[in-house]
């Protein structure tokens, strides 16, 4: 009974492998490269000299007070775009509390006069370790510091934040968020 199914099994396996493992991904690649060239190749951002300085979708590590800081990253080293990972720390794990306390201390050290409470996304690690975005609250919390260090009026920095904020899709889905890398690139451009 099974022996007569052997040939169909092997042949169908080969055909379906070719169809779903070669024809299908090649078709998607072809269409994607033609119609969506930039996103299909990683949404790269380029400096004025043409060098790639990052991807609009992949965060980078910032701990200099003149830049906005992103989410904590649990990858090694932080924001390792070749090995994504979350912290996977449970809510009661002492290691989680240590990481949160260390981030609070770092944020307070560079901005000792800021008495507002720290938004939660600035002290927690993202799912991917590569989250390019923070909440608007997380950006506004850092605004006075960045403006002060860069000697820019608050209004200017706020404009740059707003220009790099995405809102909810259809006003319903997801959350509004600020792209940290794009804001920092815009700040560096503005200086020149």
């Amino acid at each position: 009974m099974l022996r007569e199914q052997l040939r169909p099994a092997i042949m169908m396996f080969i055909f379906l492998t070719a169809l779903t493992g070669i024809v299908y991904p090649l078709t998607v690649t072809g269409l994607a490269q033609v119609f969506f060239h930039k996103p299909a190749n990683g949404s790269l951002l380029f400096a004025s000299d043409g060098k790639p300085v990052g991807s609009a979708l992949i965060g980078q590590n910032f701990d200099d007070p003149q830049y906005f800081w992103g989410r904590l990253s649990a990858t090694t080293p932080p924001y390792n775009a070749s090995a994504s990972s979350g912290s996977n720390l449970g809510p009661a794990n002492p290691a989680l509390l240590e990481a949160v306390k260390a981030r609070i201390a770092a944020l307070r050290t560079v901005d000792p006069n800021n008495a507002t409470t720290i938004p939660v996304d600035l002290v927690t690690a993202s799912a991917s370790g590569l989250d390019p975005q923070i909440s608007l609250a997380g950006a506004y919390f850092q605004l006075p510091r960045v403006a002060r260090v860069r000697h820019l009026p608050d209004e200017t920095v706020r404009n740059i934040i707003d220009q790099n904020t995405t809102s909810r899709c259809l006003g319903i889905l997801g959350e509004p968020a600020v792209n940290v890398l794009k804001v920092n690139l815009a700040l560096d451009e503005f200086k020149k």
């Binding site: 779903t20 993202s126 909440s135």
Partner: protein, 584 residues
């Protein structure tokens, strides 16, 4: 819970329910062999495939022949995935020159992808070459989904046909599922994902210069970031649609490339439940009583909707330990607040909660946030939904045939109560069907509880734990629940890429997939041979709210009673410790 949370949940459910009918009707057309646009275009291609492969496509198979073909095809798949991983260093499309995968991890992954589980002990971008991702993993994403769907269709034929020895042709069902349902949907989905930012390229990783240069651990400057790319979108599309869940990247759909925007997130969440929900409608069409399809869908929603609302409410409250550190977790206009550890800023709380419930109700297993970092009860809900047997939507096909097993149990219990021979859709349910349904309901329980108990006793099991205390137990319980439910999600802190876990979880996935498929096909064969009993005044109607509620309760009681003690040792005690502020 704030207003937007409820609106997002309602929007998700509305769109899902609106799209169930068109897809459901289309799939019924495909399986009944009625002409559609695609079958007209590709019909001659389909028949050419059969001719070259030696498939006698007009011949219908007995259940034993059908089960034999399923097993043969799946074992071929397992062997191929194993071989490709072991040889990937010598195969093309390996720009990072990744070495062969270890034997135990290859075994685990081969079973995992063939059984539609997609448990991943490895990190995708740093383990699998593009060749392996495409020709081993993407292929199994398609055919494992199709395997689930064809077993369901064979079972439905068991109800529709009378006094027939056969239940259809496996090769025809398999080819049509792939060619007319899964490939077209995935193609569209993949292109939409690329438009949102998901890469689709064969180029190697790209090196960029960091805006703020970093120093590595030894203090040397590290001014660059290496960004992994690949043919991502084509795999993510089918991974979501086929309730597979195996990501291209380690962080799965939390990775900004796998899931770049709120729109991509919504579509991926919709894709998780779309085919499983629509198959309920297909069932109604094929048994020529659409109310029966709606009834099964309603029984699923009775359990699903409260879980959605509760999960969002739990995660929105935030972590009490962070509140005591003075962190602002309140939802406001400028932030989602809540428990943001392991969640992405663009998704916030509610998009992560909906996902965690959908992915565990269906046996998808992809994640857009790290479930290990959910609050104790927020993590318990997905764990518990898996333990219910993956019948609340469940896997494509497998969820509904599992639910029909519970229907058999429910009408049997109801039959005992009212003292009549139980029937479902005009077929008498007798001892044979009941035995097979009981196997389907009970086998996963064995493969969850016994290996979990062994793992917490053995050093090799305990070595994998990341989080201390009851959370560590939850990690192990989740791993075996996920493998046995063919789900694939994880409390990912558990270091499961060890020979012990790779082999134990691999065996759990194998037996809980194929030891359920074979009894269900046996039921299909047995029902097919029966005559249809006409409806009489003594027939228990199975489309009424009363039966829907009764069915949901049977699912809940079987699942809840078995696992309550285990859940009490893990997430429940952890919740009490966290709420009481007593962490020792």
């Amino acid at each position: 819970m704030n207003g937007n949370n409820v609106i997002q949940i309602l929007f998700y459910l509305t769109v899902l329910l609106l799209t169930v009918k068109p897809l459901g009707i289309y799939m019924a057309q495909v399986y009944e062999g009625k002409p559609s646009l695609l079958s007209i275009w590709f019909g001659s291609f389909e028949r050419a495939l059969y001719r070259i492969s030696g498939v006698k496509f007009e011949a219908s198979m007995t259940w034993k022949e059908y089960a034999g073909a399923v097993m043969l095809f799946n074992i071929l798949g397992i062997m191929a995935v194993y071989a490709i991983q072991r040889m990937q260093a010598f195969l093309p499309l390996n720009p990072l020159a990744l070495p062969a995968v270890s034997p135990d991890s290859s075994f685990n992954t081969a079973v995992s992808f063939a059984s539609n589980t997609n448990w991943q002990g490895y990190g995708g971008e740093s383990t699998m070459s593009y060749f392996t991702q495409m020709l081993a993993l993407t292929v199994q994403n398609f055919v494992s989904a199709a395997t689930g769907m064809v077993v369901l269709v064979a079972l439905i034929r068991g109800f529709v046909q009378k006094q027939t020895k056969t239940i259809g042709n496996f090769w025809v069902d398999l080819t049509r599922s792939t060619l007319y349902i899964l490939i077209p949907l995935s193609l569209v989905m993949a292109l939409v994902l690329v438009s949102q930012g998901t890469p689709q390229t064969f180029a190697s990783s790209v090196k960029v210069t960091l805006v703020q240069p970093m120093k590595d651990a030894s203090g040397k400057p590290a001014p660059e970031q290496l960004i992994a790319l690949g043919p991502v979108a084509s795999q993510i599309a089918i991974k979501q649609l086929g309730t597979n869940g195996g990501g291209f990247f380690n962080a799965n759909s939390g990775h900004p490339f796998e899931n770049p925007t709120p729109l991509s997130n919504f579509l991926e969440m919709l894709a998780i439940l779309w085919i499983p929900a629509a198959l309920c409608y297909t069932f109604g069409v094929m048994v020529q009583d659409r109310r029966q399809g709606w009834a099964l869908l309603a029984a699923m929603l009775i359990i699903f909707i409260p879980c959605l609302l509760w999960s969002a409410q739990i995660e929105q409250q935030g972590n009490p330990l962070l509140t005591s550190l003075g962190v602002d977790q309140k939802p406001a206009a400028f932030q989602p607040g809540g428990n943001m550890e392991g969640k992405e800023a663009r998704f916030g709380i509610v998009s992560s909660s909906i996902w965690s419930i959908a992915t565990s109700a269906a046996s998808n297993g992809s994640v857009n946030s790290m479930q290990d970092s959910f609050l104790p009860l927020g993590g318990m809900l997905p764990l518990w939904l898996i333990q219910l047997g993956e019948v609340i939507f469940g896997g494509v096909g497998s969820g509904l045939y599992g639910m029909i097993a519970f229907v058999i149990i429910a009408v049997f219990i109801a039959g005992l109560m009212i003292g009549r021979t139980p029937e479902y859709l005009g077929k008498k349910i007798e001892a044979y069907e009941m035995k097979m349904a009981a196997l389907v309901a009970l086998i996963p329980h064995i493969f969850i509880l016994i290996p979990t108990a062994l793992a917490v006793l053995l050093p090799a099991g305990k070595a994998g734990i990341l989080n201390p205390g009851p959370h560590g137990f939850s990690e192990i319980l989740y791993a075996f629940s996920s493998a046995s439910g063919n789900n694939g999600s994880a409390f990912a802190g558990l270091s499961a890429n060890t020979p012990f876990y790779n082999i134990a979880l691999g065996l759990a996935m194998f037996f809980c997939r194929y030891w359920l498929i074979i009894p269900m096909l046996a039921v299909a064969g047995s029902l097919s041979a029966k005559k249809i009993v006409p409806v009489s005044s003594g027939t228990l109607p199975t489309h009424t709210p009363l039966f829907v509620f009764f069915l949901a309760m049977v699912v809940l009681i079987v699942g809840a009673l078995t696992f309550f003690p285990a859940l009490a040792l893990g997430p429940i005690v952890e919740h009490l410790m966290l709420a009481g502020g007593n962490l020792r």
